[in-house]
Amino acid sequence: MDYTNQIREIAARLFSENKIDVFVGYRMTGFDENQVPVLIRDPKEVPRLVFNDKSVFNLTNYLKHEHTRGKRVGLVVKGCDSRSLQLLLTESQVKRDRLYVVGIACEGVVDDAGQKYQNCQECVFPDAVVFDEMLGTPKGNGQYQVNADIRELASKDLVERRAYFEEVFENCIRCNACRHSCPMCYCAKCCIDQESSTLYNGANTTSAAFHALMTWSLHLAGRCVDCRNCEKACPSHLPLHLLHKWNEQVIYENFQEHLAGVHEGDRGAFYKYSLQDPDDFIM
């Protein structure tokens, strides 16, 4: 998967037609195989753009920053990124007419070892769902499957699971990188770090991590697109996908819901209801 040349052409064309103010893409770090997101404002810098299977970061994250707000943006999106873009559009966070979206029919991105990421192996929607222009041949949708880690963990008993997650929460350093790198976390003020003394736990303790991660994942339930920006950002390498994938699975199985951000105008499972929803757990 290498669309470097096509993306450079598109970006150059958009700049010359004066359709965009800034183009968000990837460039090489210049010192290793990895890539850095880059915001290109000057058409002269277009040749720095690249795109291949190391283009990992979900660029829709930059739509929430002050740097692209109010600007006309050109953007490269993979399958999962386009789903978060779809949700951002549905939630009125970005304006469609200000965007030029280059969709990718994604074949999965790889980590440092050249191994495909887990979410790419299990990807259901590899093709961009929102785009102005599509690169690559669409592969069609995959089959939803239960995450392997979830299956393994769910088979353990309560005491083991509690011990496992206690370790997860203990290793959390409360840097909030997960939240900052999540494209769906755009609140100006987040409830997990409001500087309001009675609600917020500023301390860096296990219980504060429990509170922050659980609340965060529940606020993303039905909205998480499984791009795993959070997990890749986590300096403690915590398995944050467990929380999100579990919620996704619960919603998928119990409410027969689609995955987040697939359909236009679909705000996610928590914004609608059905009379047939399970009721047996309520007294």
């Binding site: 005491v159 219980s207 609608k272």
Partner: protein, 161 residues
């Protein structure tokens, strides 16, 4: 599900936590203003007894209950949480409790997945006329939580001593 070992009450999720002999669970009850709160009021005025472990918070509607409240309760003081609202179809705001139902299920499942017993958070539909039912629900929740033993989430150790 019996958590008692050698007559000592231990936490079902974390057996190394042993309850002190005089331990009583703290349960947070989050009740909707229009049905369950009125129902609990009726329980009181009808002089029906129910366990005193519950601390009641009144909210406008069960859909006001953000999953955050449940997490926060468990994190700080509560050993269990009860959320109660109007029966389906009876919501004062037409459909609030239908939305709430979805959230509760996901929250309950997630807590269960991360190693908390399912009975730590419980839900009920109690209408304004169901005073006896409210007493029964509280009695059941208290009984359940007593069996589960203390939650003793990480935070509490900071405040004891």
């Amino acid at each position: 599900m019996e958590a008692a070992v050698n007559n000592q009450l231990v936490s079902i999720e974390k057996p190394e936590i042993v309850a002190p002999p005089d331990w009583q669970p703290v349960i947070i009850g989050i009740l909707c203003n229009w049905c369950s709160y009125a129902g609990s009021d009726l329980t009181g005025t009808s002089r029906i007894q129910y366990p005193p472990n519950i601390r009641i918070i009144r909210v406008p509607c069960s859909s006001r209950v953000d999953p955050w409240f449940l997490i926060k309760s468990l994190q700080t003081t509560a050993d269990g949480v009860l959320v109660s609202g109007c029966h389906p179809g009876d919501c004062h705001y037409i459909s609030g409790n239908y939305y709430a139902r979805r959230r509760f299920l996901v929250t309950k499942k997630l807590l269960h997945f991360t190693g908390f017993h399912e009975n730590r958070i419980q839900f009920s539909w109690v209408s304004a006329a169901e005073g006896p039912k409210f007493a029964k629900v509280v009695a059941k929740v208290t009984e359940d939580i007593k069996k589960l033993g203390p939650l003793h989430l990480y935070k509490k150790e900071n405040f004891e001593k």
